[in-house]
Amino acid sequence: MKLKAPERVTFNKSGFCPGCGHGVAGRLIAEVAEEMGLADKLITTVDVACGSLHLEDWHFDTVMAAHGRTLVTAIGLKKVRKDNPVLAYYGDGAGYAIGMAETIHAGLRNDNVIAIVVNNAIYGMTGGQMAPTTLPGQKTTSSPYGKDAARFGKPFRIEDAYSGFDIGYLARGALVGAANINRAKKMIRKAFEKHMNNQGLCYVELLSPCPTNWNLAPLKAKDFLLDEMTKHFPLGEFKGGDAK
């Protein structure tokens, strides 16, 4: 089996920390776009935080949006460039805190864009603060004694929030382990296919380790993701999957 990172992500310097899932997510998106023959037309929007580093290594026309407005920036773009696939790429802080209104209303309207949301249960770029996705008891720099879910809420789950909406596709994958990564790629591919079929919002959340801010070595972070995070964030397809 011949395998080589796609031209669209070939770069000299990667800014991500060791063991971070963003590098894998970026590669999967580029692989799917190339395999589907869409790379020449794909336009991406990125948020301001860690994920924005793709701005430097993605060979796609890319817009860097305001924090939490990545999805609506992509929506505005798609409405004027209907022939281009448009993908919004951002994190859980952007999607489920500052951009929650945008997340909900994009689902309500079933806007025709791809959303790839990297969930690492914390704010990465600002140094590991508590997020709406932080696990109960998880220690972060702004919940140093562990997140008290009674005060700050349980981890936010997009499949619950979108349960009543007719969106094109909703799935959650993980960016650790070859089997999970293969599965995540299939989800991204399905999102692209449905997007090209104008089926509305095609949304893939990807669980990512953040070894730096979890204060764990990468392999321990991988274990934490698979053992703890998936208890709150089940993997699989929730809308528009094969089961239907």
Binding site: L3, F16, C17, G19, G23, G177, L219
Partner: protein, 65 residues
């Protein structure tokens, strides 16, 4: 015979590939790259070109030939 070409200038030493390799063909060597990370080495004899390392690597170190 080269089966698995690596560019360890990109390697950040996370070890995902070492843990993932079904044939224990990847291990940490003693080379530190310019970024200051201890990098991996591939035993070309043991490699079966399964591509697991390519898939889990966040830094695009591997090319399966």
């Amino acid at each position: 015979m080269e089966k698995n070409r690596t560019d360890v200038t990109r390697c950040k030493g996370c070890g995902y590939c070492v843990a993932e390799c079904p044939k224990q063909a990847i291990s940490f060597g003693d080379h530190m790259n310019a970024k200051g990370y201890l990098t991996i080495v591939v035993d070309q004899e043991k490699c079966i070109r399964c591509g697991s390392c390519y898939r889990v690597c966040p830094d695009y170190v591997f090319e399966i030939l």
